[in-house]
Symmetry: C2
Subunit: 413 residues, 2 copies
Amino acid sequence: MSATVSPLAPKSYPDMPSIRGVRMATAAAGIKYKNRTDVLLMAFDRPAVVAGVFTKSKCPSAPVDHCRASLGHGVARGVVVNSGNANAFTGKKGKEATALTAKSAAAALGCDENEIYLASTGVIGEPLDATKFSGVLGDMATGATGDFWLEAAKAIMTTDTYPKVATRTAEIGGIKVTINGIAKGAGMIAPDMATMLSFVVTDADIAARALQGLLSAGVEPSFNAITVDSDTSTSDTLLLFATGAASADGQKTVETADDPALSGFKLALNDLLMDLALQVVRDGEGARKMVEITVTGAESDAAAKKIALSIANSPLVKTAVAGEDANWGRIVMAVGKSGEMADRDRLAIWFGDVRVAVGGERDPAYSEDATTAVMQKQDIPVRVDIGLGEGKATVWTCDLTKEYVAINGDYRS
Amino acid sequence: MSATVSPLAPKSYPDMPSIRGVRMATAAAGIKYKNRTDVLLMAFDRPAVVAGVFTKSKCPSAPVDHCRASLGHGVARGVVVNSGNANAFTGKKGKEATALTAKSAAAALGCDENEIYLASTGVIGEPLDATKFSGVLGDMATGATGDFWLEAAKAIMTTDTYPKVATRTAEIGGIKVTINGIAKGAGMIAPDMATMLSFVVTDADIAARALQGLLSAGVEPSFNAITVDSDTSTSDTLLLFATGAASADGQKTVETADDPALSGFKLALNDLLMDLALQVVRDGEGARKMVEITVTGAESDAAAKKIALSIANSPLVKTAVAGEDANWGRIVMAVGKSGEMADRDRLAIWFGDVRVAVGGERDPAYSEDATTAVMQKQDIPVRVDIGLGEGKATVWTCDLTKEYVAINGDYRS
């Protein structure tokens, strides 16, 4: 947690309604931080359906291993998240820590260990002393409450400067359902996945396969389209739980992701995932500006995304944004290095509504003043048309500032 | 050119001998910089054999287009290089500028335009006014001298803080030959190619195909194994010229790169390319530390190089180095995100001679003090053993500092 809140933080937080079937509690276990909460317990009163997406890292954390194994079981009774220590690259001790946590949480909630989901975020390589919080999970389970989303989001923060929450409603077969989500992440943020940790809960009644289908599709244009620093975490975890409590109102279980009954829910879920993902990138370490990069006219959507990410991950582009310098030559560079088809003489580039380059050279009507005015804003839209096909994609990133270097040059110690 | 010389700069420069058959001159044309030289002319008294390697950017500069076209012709009489403007993404005007420069240089040297090689470095997207120097090429050709390597290296600098020169000798069939090289580059440096501009000249008598073979092989472990910021320039150009003057001493033309007569020359050339490449990375924008990353035990050499570059390009690794923080967890992260096969439980990591992680967790004998002592040095060797195969590779990078952000946040304006 930083003393200074990102200038890109939301101006206000939504009122987060309770979601029937889930309760939460937090605790201050002193894992790394002082005078703040660092453990979150989510408890599902009845087994919740669960879907998950995890880091593609070849060196995943122990909690990611645990979640992947639990997912096969298919239902969740509890989630334990700690901040301050990622329990990644911690060998046997890491596995012992996840085992102890799962066992303690299962005892507290009266369920099986494979109904417990775990996530840890913080420094890599330090053994996690799970005894610091395993003893309090019972009390946490007893005291857990439904109206606790913002506090939950705070407990899982690391270098985040603000908690990230979002809520949406939708109707399934005429029955109103709610979706709430929290997320954390500020650095080591890159596809795929982009967030470090996010937990989304709905009271809708949706079968496991449908839920996983919705989540896998929803993550692509949201969490998998943001990057802070191109560094992919060992711990990225996005879990979606469906408590099914809306069945009490008459909502019928939906079995498949493509069921038309889910169309409204799908929109609401995707919108919520996008909201959380953008909150993550807006809290990028040291960020002062947000950049939305849209690539059109590429050979395919995949090519467009690769070009857009090449721009979004370029240190030279990101430092230029930090310096409010409309250095569109670096956009050309980043397009050129992406490896995707491009024809210099067909490229066009816009900052905001100002076209700065077209037909392989600077726009004849180029205005330094107009371009600079765009660069001085907090949110900067960049558009690149490749001029070759129909492929398009949008990704989001932030600028690269001296504060990013300062934050990351002295994080561990 | 920066006011402050990189702390990683060479302590002294070698005496650069003349190379028979090549002369050089510089001029101050005021393309962008004041009170310094910014144009270099290299003149070959007789047609020199030439080999080249260029950026893989899909948006190459106009001079790169020109050089690629000339290479088919196979011999060189002159090279014109300017700093301050890359003549990249400059459309028709860019082509007109290269045409004018080639025409003027050909007139000055009494040769064909396709015997002229061109390179430009500096800002992208600004039209280059070649009339600023096209008129003085005649005088430059007349005044050119053989003993001018360091001045030549100075004229092609942009954000470089020191000129980069190297010299080697070798024997071919008992006849002594010399190789001299200059390079420039400090940012927008990443494979492939890593340097922005480098020009190497030998008096050896080597046929075009053999020369190209030597250069293409030599660039892989040198210029293609360094990265400052993962950003590949539109303008990267490495040219190798053989004047053939040593034939006057009895050196017989070598026709193929694998001719045993070239074994000593090959070593000397590769050593010189490595020397220049390391000088480039040691002048990385804002660099205070140099990091040598060796990956062993990967599935293949290619996999090892990909993992090594994933580490070398990670902003989180580079900022940790800047902060003298032995944050080896970020090395694990970078191995994991590379996409190459890795087994967390077989990884071992060393900083210098200190093994910090082994068998999937922190080394039991880990000493923070010993590790910190390594991190406080100027040159930091990092070794990662993947534990899966025989593949190995070494790459070099520098740290990511606040100065990098400062330099690149305000370069263009």
